[in-house]
């Protein structure tokens, strides 16, 4: 995965993020939360990579590292074949126009003291040399693009519903025409009918603006709907990554299988056999040895305790980290 690839927009290699845990009498570091632990992946231009996983599995941390809102503990991040791992805040500012993020909570992610116009114009103000009038025009066009009206500019976030706010967030993120957008669970907080609106909007904008998405969610059906490829994370690691058809039709990793079978589906005629996992997600500060999933895995064997499975390609573009497929 190291070759320079013109099609690849984002590439991360072996990145890790360890958050120190302070404790003890003198508040020194007594351990680490291994929020992301050795993840490598690449995202092609124009594609949507979905990331799913349980809460705390490190999805947000991964996303935030990719656009360098967080500095990785280890590893490399390439954007457009440029190494941005160690760029200073100053230099990063130039890259910020190309990568954006939309957050989960439509209530917390907009500064409630700024009007919608100000919110959408703020990135333009920072990243472009557009005049005031141009910014205004751009803001209006963005608002219309996400299905709001021009005169909503003067309003404030509290005057909008969750779905509408998420549209504002999207307009704000897209105003400076980024190439790459991370959606960190952008629809999780929305009602289904609204969720559909936002998902459609995101899909449409991707087509229109030729965007590349990293779409984080815990809802497998949503991820399936929007993604081209899907990565399944478990305890800071990628358990399986593959094109979506491969993941959904032929999941290899026992965790992916369990996850898929747990999702309740609306097809009432189709009775599936459920794999109910035992226990909870272990703590990322003290992950199990060997394979992180082994404590809940119905198929765990001795080797899983010792060896940490590598993420290896099993089929065309279908990578999985499981000892079951080692042979």
């Amino acid at each position: 995965m190291t070759s320079v690839d013109q099609d690849t927009l984002v590439r991360v290699e072996n990145i890790k993020k360890y958050f120190p845990i302070k404790g003890g009498i003198l508040k020194h570091t007594i351990g680490h939360v291994k929020a992301v632990d050795d993840v490598s992946l690449a995202i092609k231009k124009g594609e949507t990579l979905g990331v799913v996983g349980e809460s705390g599995s490190g999805k947000s941390t991964l996303g935030r590292m990719i656009i360098r809102l967080l500095a990785p503990t280890e590893g490399k991040i390439y954007f457009d074949n440029q190494d941005i791992t160690n760029l200073s805040n100053e230099k990063l500012r130039n890259y910020r126009r190309d990568m954006q993020i939309v957050f989960q909570d439509p209530f917390a992610s907009l500064n409630s003291k700024m009007s919608v116009g100000q919110l959408i114009e703020e990135p333009l103000l920072i990243q472009t040399n557009l005049s005031k009038v141009e910014r205004k025009e751009k803001a209006i066009s963005m608002l219309e693009k996400v299905g709001l009206r021009a005169d909503d500019r003067a309003k404030y976030p509290h005057e909008f519903s969750g779905g509408q706010r998420q549209r504002i967030s999207i307009a704000r993120a897209l105003a400076i025409s980024p190439k790459f957008v991370i959606g960190d669970e952008p629809v999780s907080a929305l009602d289904v009918s609204i969720q559909a609106q936002v998902l459609n909007l995101m899909a449409d904008l991707q087509d229109e603006l030729n965007l590349t998405y990293l779409f984080i969610a815990h809802d497998l059906s949503v991820v399936k709907h929007i993604s081209d490829r899907v990565a399944v994370m478990y305890l800071g690691r990628i358990a399986e990554i593959a094109p979506k058809e491969a993941i959904y039709d032929n999941p290899l990793h026992p965790y992916t299988q369990a996850l898929l079978s747990s999702v309740p589906i609306t097809d009432i005629d189709h009775k599936r056999e459920k794999i109910i996992l035992k226990g909870d997600l272990p703590s990322p500060s003290d992950p199990p040895s060997g394979c992180a999933f082994r404590t809940r895995c119905p198929m765990a064997h001795d080797r899983c305790k010792v060896d940490r499975p590598e993420l290896l390609e099993k089929k065309n573009g279908h990578f999985v980290a499981c000892h079951l497929y080692d042979r």
Binding site: S55, V192, K224, I265
Partner: protein, 327 residues
């Protein structure tokens, strides 16, 4: 279903008298009943009145809310207007309840044991020792292998799924006739959701309870419910068996919901959407509550609110389209 209903709700109206002298008609003319051993799902988007319905049943509506009309009968006993003292003998004993937020639903300053023993002693009038024994049994039943140790733990020491199990243990401790589960898994991961819902199902069978399962996830409905009530704007807009709902939904809202759902089994490029947002409870349209978002809206929909009409099979719908049809 020949045996008499455990719960029957008739013409329930619960209004909130807001400070600006508006009235939020959170629950408006709601009728339904639940039979022993049956799981009835109450679905609807956020703010549609699901929780208020359940709290009305528990007589836990606080100011400025008030049950203004209707009757709620638990095994033939009228609950509306029952004194609070008499109600305390019903809550927890004959009706158990589980809430959405496992993180905050348990009192943080008391041990798990304390909180279970409390309810046992209140309703069963047994000694502390016996209550302790039963509590440990209960914890084992809901899947705590180390029940003794768990008794001594505090809520913050447990994960969300474990807390929800404790909530279930509390809710079923007195073998209630009715279990109300208000979005019991919304805050949990899918794998944990599956555990919890299975547990509820198991308990339902074990104690032959009636379950009112409140959710906004149609997948959950499809997998766990027997009958479904679809709520919108404080009213039930459609009700029927699970099959009727998923196979032959009538109400435009139900249809919209189903279409807007991304699905695991079929791929679709675009999701169906329902335009607009849910109106606020103190600002419902005059006529049909859904009229502002309905693709089939007619003139009379704007002026008058249709009644719910059921066919022989019990499939009811609140829509003029079908009134027409029947005529």
């Amino acid at each position: 279903m020949t045996n008499p209903a455990v719960l029957s709700v008739e013409d329930l109206k619960t209004y909130f008298y807001l400070e600006n002298s508006n009235i939020a008609k959170a629950v408006d003319r709601v009728n339904f009943s639940i039979h022993p051993g049956e799981t009835v799902a109450l679905v609807g988007e956020s703010g549609s009145g699901k929780s208020i319905t359940s709290l009305s049943i528990m007589q836990l509506i606080d100011k400025p809310g008030k049950i203004v009309n209707g009757s709620i009968q638990l095994e033939g006993r009228e609950l509306v207007q029952l004194s609070n003292r008499k109600m305390t003998k019903i809550r927890g004993k004959e009706v158990g309840m589980i809430f959405q937020e496992p993180m905050t639903a348990l009192n943080p300053v008391y041990t798990i044991g304390n909180q279970i023993i409390e309810v046992l002693r209140k309703h069963k009038k047994i000694s502390k020792k016996d209550a302790r024994k039963q509590a440990i049994e209960l914890l084992k039943t809901v899947g705590f292998p180390r029940a003794e140790a768990t008794m001594k733990e505090y809520p913050h020491q447990l994960s969300g799924g474990m807390r929800q199990r404790v909530m279930i243990a509390i809710a079923i401790s007195c073998e209630p006739k009715l279990l109300i589960a208000d979005e019991p898994t919304t805050a949990l991961d899918v794998t944990i959701q599956a555990q919890i819902l299975d547990l509820i199902n198991e308990m339902k069978k074990k104690f032959n309870m009636a379950v009112l399962l409140i959710t906004h996830d149609l997948g959950v409905v499809a997998e766990y419910a027997d009958r479904v009530l679809v709520m919108y704007g404080g009213q039930i807009v459609e009700q029927g068996t699970k099959r009727q709902l998923f196979k032959s939904a009538k109400h435009p809202y139900t249809n919209g919901l189903l279409e807007s759902l991304p699905s695991l089994d079929q791929s679709s490029d675009r999701l169906g959407t329902i335009k607009g947002t849910v109106p606020a409870a103190d600002n419902f349209p005059e006529g049909c509550r859904f009229s502002t978002r309905c693709p089939h809206v007619m003139e009379k929909c704007i002026k008058t609110n249709p009644d719910i009409l059921s066919d022989d099979s019990g499939h009811g719908v609140r829509c003029f389209l079908y009134e027409e049809e029947e005529k």
